[in-house]
Symmetry: C2
Amino acid sequence: MKRSFIREILEHTDAHTISFAGGLPDVGLFPRQALQVAAQKALCTPEALQYSTSTGYAPLKALIAQQYCDKGFATTADEILITSGSQQGLDIIARYHRGTGMTLESPSYLGALNIFTLNNISTYSVALGEDGIDLEAFKKSINHTALTYLIPDFQNPSGTCYTASHRRDLATVLQDSDTLLIEDAPYSEVYFDQPYPSISQLLPRQSYHLGSFSKVLAPALRIGWIRADSSLLQPLIAYKEAMDLHTSSITQRIVYEYLLDTEGYQTHLATLRTHYQEKMNHFADLLNKYLPNFHYARPKGGMFIYGKLEGIDTMKLVRECIEHGVVFVPGCEFDGAFDEIRFNYTHSTFEEIKRGLKRIALVLSLR
Amino acid sequence: MKRSFIREILEHTDAHTISFAGGLPDVGLFPRQALQVAAQKALCTPEALQYSTSTGYAPLKALIAQQYCDKGFATTADEILITSGSQQGLDIIARYHRGTGMTLESPSYLGALNIFTLNNISTYSVALGEDGIDLEAFKKSINHTALTYLIPDFQNPSGTCYTASHRRDLATVLQDSDTLLIEDAPYSEVYFDQPYPSISQLLPRQSYHLGSFSKVLAPALRIGWIRADSSLLQPLIAYKEAMDLHTSSITQRIVYEYLLDTEGYQTHLATLRTHYQEKMNHFADLLNKYLPNFHYARPKGGMFIYGKLEGIDTMKLVRECIEHGVVFVPGCEFDGAFDEIRFNYTHSTFEEIKRGLKRIALVLSLR
């Protein structure tokens, strides 16, 4: 199995390299002190350190279920399975459905593609348009696949956000099929103007909805979850148990203690949205200035700007850029076109964004 | 896939049930306050909350490597892969060797058997004697299997500890074969009188050695590791990455900060060993008193007493016992005989051990 370009880069670039590669949040936005307080509370009882149930810490599951209910998506704690990041959630689902066929977007999330390969799943790519996946091609593809994998909110890598009407159309199409939807939604809370309703909400008994605290709290917690109807969730529990017994109940309890301050969490989310929108606009303004031939649309949320540097082999380009202390991910890594690029705009500081984009412009001018 | 009897029991018994079932440590022995202090230190830097490398937190890997070196088993940080409990370590190795054949002990660890089934591994059981696995049968079996799975230290479920000479004999046999050894060693530090050298130490390039902090610090941390030669470890990293990106760097850093107080850790281990030996002797004394027909040997470490209640169907017995508020695991769950039982003696208090064993005696007397 091949390692991820992004994660290899994470391990091999030095501290001076400006990275637009990984999907890393801004370290300055982690609610570190509040999590430190939460950790003290979480570790007040010896039971917090003991083995725990495979499905997850019950009070945390109840809080997550409540968050769904607050959005009008009726959910009980029994419909939540806590996972070690939503990456593991994907693996559990794919492992249970091992060897089947899957319809997905092109381009799509690299970590998911790896998991599908590992689980011997045959993937059928359907092009992603401005409003979401191509509906006609999608209809044809799902006739042959038991699973569908979509990232409707500020997709990784494309940044695309499905329109509300496209979501409804997809739900209608799926309802008439035997396909189960896997909706990966790690960025759903990272919207700039407005939230979008999930597709799963329209298909509660035919979907796995994956959530994560990695983008909104901190990735190091490794806390994600699967929301699904009990009949779909039950068979997954044996897999979760076999894979790592259960997710750390220390980090689960830290998240739980943190979330108890509902107002604090909402304030944190509001700050994060404003800050990321400012960064995105800063990045886009400088792209227009330093890389005027880069064509893209400003995203409405999430962490990525995806676009095209017409005619330029971006894999070659990134190898030259590494020498000049700046990295990004070439589109081909996501099965995108050879001249496409994914930029992450959340990780670097405003000043680093400027320096990094100037370095890429320099590399292009030296050719 | 079947769920584990033990974990289902963990989820369904109430607070009044006395459990000799799960392999749970004594909550009173968790170094809770020291871990609380370690958590404060771990969360002092925002970088602790960011995505991290798939192989694990480098300073923790270095400390674990040093612990091997201190035992005379030369190891570098590059030969350590941090996993989400050693359960995940087993899964990573089994997944990489998917579909192959494996020689293992009978009885063996249930969680491992599940993982091997999940990864389509054909298992060949060899009987476990007093000194370890039957050497002659083992020699024949490994001719047909690419892997061997052993738990030489205070085995789960049998409590067996391989003698030093048996370990050397096994290493010699393995050296002449093409079989890779998976040595699962979660109880290696939980010895009562003396530690035992690992078999892997004699086969550094032909073995995966699995370690864990679950039994000696706290299971909720979910921190384990694989120690292997770089050539064996490298291909596993892509699997680890695909499965959950990386293990929580918060809990990794908590363990690291805790371990920096070397003397404190050694004192903790000494206390744990003494306390568990006292509990084991208490349990054994009461077994002799209340269940005189139960045949077993006192273990030299670990967490379990395994034995035989001649002619009694222990699966039937445990179902009756549940009604009377006490549980254990019948041997058949581990592919052991129908009249065998595994008792965990570490989890319950001294007083609960007495009450629990009296309840079992009562159930037997009512038959």
